[in-house]
């Protein structure tokens, strides 16, 4: 075993925990420094989900991906900042303070994997892993100008990922270039018998820049109202670049988009309201000091331990599952999901990948999105891929006002290889 020292100049506050002396072994990632989002369980290392309610929690086990990284010789150097429990688009919802966008400290790095993205963009680490429930890898990748991939649902084990929305989320790689992303992904992907939703689809691909004949679908809904026209232009240019490399652009439409955001938020808040109910202070988290009877004591603990956004989402999820008028919403959201899936199935009969902007705008200024619903609306372009379970990545494709713009590429189930190739081809062309 070798060791390395890790003392980053973390002006952007990417990390919650850093590990000053890290040992690592042999393997395909030998000595690569990897930052891990703080919702992924690391044995013996505090794992907080950027929440006060998990302050001091030391998991007695490693998430499956952590075992894979260690076995591949990676040096896990720290746990990164995030929106509390993954709930947010800016990393402003962390209980331990925000992370700054390395390209402009007055702007957010995106979320919820903002810390991981900032660590990579600031050059503090070679690569990072994050989680993506509704865009949480792709959004910060776009805002920070790096590459980030949300794998096909089931391709990477979720065992050890502290659940926010089980049916939507995946752990994925983040890096400054497609080649590194691909290397990291080849370690992460594959079957885990402890995760019943895990699928046996390892990834062993080397990115290839030849995309002649690639059919690229361009949905009109991705360039509609709500998308900054300058951002739309930059992305359209990027698609032209793909065409110049031999791809074909084909217009298409996703009618189910109109239900997508509601379906997403109903589903994720419902699952979250259940997943987060276990945080009551008895088995982990700060000790209960209240002398009240258990129900009131739990309430006090959770009020003190959860931030407002988390409590709001738990409320919304509880509404969506509760008996009565709103309780139907969870099941209706599943109908909408099937519609999104059907739309993708239909489109992918005619095209190989779908392209569009990752985010409707560039990185916001801190405090810019104060209304929750306004914040939720910025996820509109990323959530469809989570609802359907298809793979999607973001690759930098230009700037607006000096801030990076991300090109989103969405592929068929288990065809990460193809979207990675398209991203690689683009990256090589503009380099």
């Amino acid at each position: 075993m070798k060791t390395l020292s890790f003392h980053p100049d973390d002006a952007v506050h990417a990390f919650i925990t850093t590990i000053p002396h890290v040992s690592y072994g042999e393997g395909p990632l030998c000595g690569m420094t990897v930052a891990v989002k703080d919702n992924i369980s690391t044995k013996g290392i505090e794992t907080t989900c950027a929440s006060r309610i998990l302050k001091g929690y030391i998991p007695p086990y490693d998430a499956h991906v952590i075992t894979l990284l260690r076995n591949a010789g990676a040096a896990i150097v720290g746990k990164t900042n995030m929106d509390e429990f993954g709930m947010g688009t800016t990393t402003e919802n962390s209980a331990f303070g925000p992370t700054y966008n390395p390209l402009d400290h007055s702007r957010v790095p995106g979320g919820s994997s903002g810390g991981s993205a900032a660590a990579v963009a600031a050059g503090l680490v070679d690569c990072a892993i994050g989680s993506d429930t509704g865009g949480s890898i792709r959004c910060p990748a776009a805002f920070c100008g790096i590459v980030g991939l949300k794998p096909t649902y089931g391709r990477v084990s979720r065992y050890g990922l502290i659940a926010y929305a089980n049916s939507l989320e995946q752990i994925g790689p983040m890096a400054r270039d497609v080649g590194t992303l691909s290397r990291l992904f080849s370690v992460l992907a594959g079957y885990d018998r402890r995760d019943a939703t895990s699928v046996d689809k390892p990834y062993t691909h080397t990115p290839c820049a030849d995309i002649k004949g690639l059919k690229v679908g361009v949905p009109r809904e991705f360039f509609g109202e709500g998308v900054n026209p300058q951002v739309a232009d930059v992305v359209r240019q990027a698609i032209e670049t793909l065409k110049s490399l031999g791809a074909q652009a084909i217009p298409c439409t996703i009618p189910s988009m109109k239900y997508a955001l509601a379906a997403y938020y109903v589903t994720c808040t419902s699952e979250a309201s259940s997943n987060l109910a276990r945080f009551d202070g008895v088995r982990y988290g700060p000790p209960i000091t209240s002398m009240k009877s258990w129900h009131d004591a739990f309430s006090d603990q959770r009020k003190a331990g959860f931030g407002k956004e988390v409590r709001r989402r738990i409320m919304l999820g509880t509404f969506s599952l509760a008996a009565g008028y709103y309780g139907r919403y969870y099941h209706k959201a599943q109908t909408a999901r099937q519609m999104v899936r059907n739309d993708f199935d239909r489109i992918f009969k005619e095209v190989d990948v779908i392209a569009g902007p990752t985010m409707p705008d560039i990185a916001f200024k801190f405090g810019e999105k104060s209304d929750p619903l306004q914040m939720y609306l910025s996820d509109i372009l990323t959530v469809p891929a989570n609802l359907a379970g298809v793979p999607a990545l973001s690759v930098p494709c230009g700037t607006v006002d000096s801030m990076p713009v991300g090109l989103q590429l969405i592929g068929r189930y288990f065809e990460e290889e193809r979207i990675i190739d398209a991203a690689y081809a683009f990256e090589q062309e503009v380099a």
Partner: protein, 474 residues
């Protein structure tokens, strides 16, 4: 006085005796182990952990479903039942809600008015929560200790239609169900808490009351009898029965109105997103059921010639049925009588299970009875001596040894004849009375012979022989 028809439905939770828990590999065999020593991230509900369904638990549940003649759903799935409680470490229980494993079955029982069918509404799988121990006496000094060794143990829940019409029928249903589960070898009836019962009971026309916390299935008849009386008394006084949940307090034999825990719950069920659905209807064909109680009962009648009553008793418990078949070779009818009537009586009196009697010792005893070596009275004496030894923790003596030591062997035929002649010679007055037609005189003479042989003779045989000899002398 108007009689009220009683309507009862039962919900039975049974722990399956798989080696590992429902959703993780922790051992289910925690007995009296230290708390929290059979837990892992999954059954402790640590963040990031994920469940994995135990295949054998599904197989066991299917076995039960097949034995109860249920229809297996084409596709069934697990759901989350969300509520807060210290012993529920994920704050949800993984159970089955709108798509249970099996539905619409039945169990035949001896009802109050003959054989009847109790319909089974559904059977589903779920996990057991942990165990809370409430501590402290003063209000402010109270707290709860929790042990999660039990959390995650596989349970099947069996729900009946409200077909049961009396507390007695409820007990019979439970006995039959318990026996069936034992025969299927899916549960350990000796393990404390392995079978728990909730009951729904109403008098026709009135509100339904749920009675929870009946932890011994023997307590069910007690609990329901109390509840029926309570409800009848209310109605007779012109008061309504309130729809509520009550707890059974076993020690006092009463049900009490329970408070806050049972307030109207909204469990917000939704499908468990970390588990995939089950499509196991086709597995049922491959399942071979062992001989079940009813079939074994019939076989005891045809193979051993045992009476219906005895057959019912002997097959009522798996271990008892096995015991009987170990000793039946001596003489099936003799064995049946002595097991079902005598042995069970002595066992019940001492609150023993059939485990207390070794089948080898019992077979030896039956051999002695069959060979006419000892009287019935002596046999009972020997039986009691063996059980008393067990009770005191001593190794019981073998029946042969007891017979030898106490000289219990019956007086032989020749010896009895000699004694009879002695008595006839000594008791001239009684003999004359006999010849004069006074039948009591015979009893007196029998008593005298018995005295002389210290009871080592069959009264019936003695009676017959004495009469023969007396009649010959005339």
């Amino acid at each position: 006085m108007e009689d009220f028809e009683t309507i009862i439905g039962l919900e039975i939770h049974c722990q399956l005796n798989t080696k590992s828990k429902m959703f993780c590999g922790c051992s289910t065999d925690f007995r009296d182990n230290e708390p929290n020593t059979h837990t892992c991230p999954i059954c402790l509900g640590l963040p990031g952990s994920m469940p994995m369904i135990n295949k054998r638990a599904v197989e066991y549940a299917l076995k039960v479903a097949k034995a109860l003649e249920c229809t297996i759903r084409e596709e069934s799935e697990f759901s989350r039942k969300n509520y807060f409680y210290p012993d529920l470490n994920k704050a949800y229980q993984i159970t089955q809600y709108d798509k249970p494993l099996a539905e619409r079955g039945k169990l035949l029982i001896d009802g109050d008015h003959g054989e009847k069918e109790v319909r089974i509404t559904r059977i589903h799988l779920e996990e057991d929560p942990g165990r809370s121990v409430h501590m402290g006496t003063t209000d402010r000094g109270k707290y709860t200790l929790v042990d999660y060794n039990r959390a995650g143990i596989p349970l099947i829940e069996i729900v009946t239609e409200p077909d049961i019409r009396s507390p007695k029928e409820a007990r019979k249903f439970l006995n039959k169900l318990r026996a069936t589960l034992e025969y299927l070898n899916v549960f350990d009836s000796e393990k404390e808490g392995s079978l728990r019962v909730d009951a729904n009971i109403s008098l026709k026309g009135s509100e339904r009351v749920e009675v929870k916390n009946i932890s011994s299935y023997k307590g069910v008849e007690k609990a329901l009898t109390f509840e029926v009386t309570r409800q009848k008394n209310l109605l007779r006084r012109g008061q309504p029965v309130i729809r509520e949940t009550r707890h059974f307090v076993e020690a006092r034999g009463v049900t009490t109105s329970s408070r806050s825990k049972e307030e109207e719950h909204d469990y917000r069920y939704f499908p468990e997103p970390d588990l995939l659905p089950l499509r196991v209807a086709s597995w049922v064909d491959a399942i071979e059921l062992p001989e079940l109680p009813d079939a074994r009962r019939e076989r005891f009648r045809t193979q051993y010639g045992v009476s219906l009553e005895h057959a019912k008793t002997l097959t009522g418990e798996l271990k008892l049925a096995d015991f009987y078949e170990h000793v039946a070779s001596v003489d099936p009818l003799l064995a049946a009588t002595w097991t079902a009537d005598y042995l069970l009586g002595e066992l019940n009196y001492r609150d023993f299970s059939i485990d207390a009697m070794s089948s080898d010792l019992f077979r030896e005893l039956l051999d002695l009875i069959k060979a006419d070596t000892i009287t019935d009275k002596s046999a009972v004496e020997i039986l009691r001596m063996i059980l008393d030894a067990v009770k005191e923790g001593r190794k019981p003596e073998r029946p042969y040894e007891i017979v030898k030591r106490l000289g219990l062997a019956k007086t032989s035929g020749d010896q009895i004849t000699a004694l009879i002649h002695d008595v006839i010679a000594e008791q001239k007055a009684a003999v004359d009375d006999y010849y004069a037609g006074k039948s009591q005189a015979l009893n007196f003479l029998v008593g005298q012979v018995m005295k002389k042989c210290r009871g080592r003779a069959d009264p019936g045989y003695l009676n017959k022989l004495l009469r023969e000899i007396l009649d010959k002398k005339v």
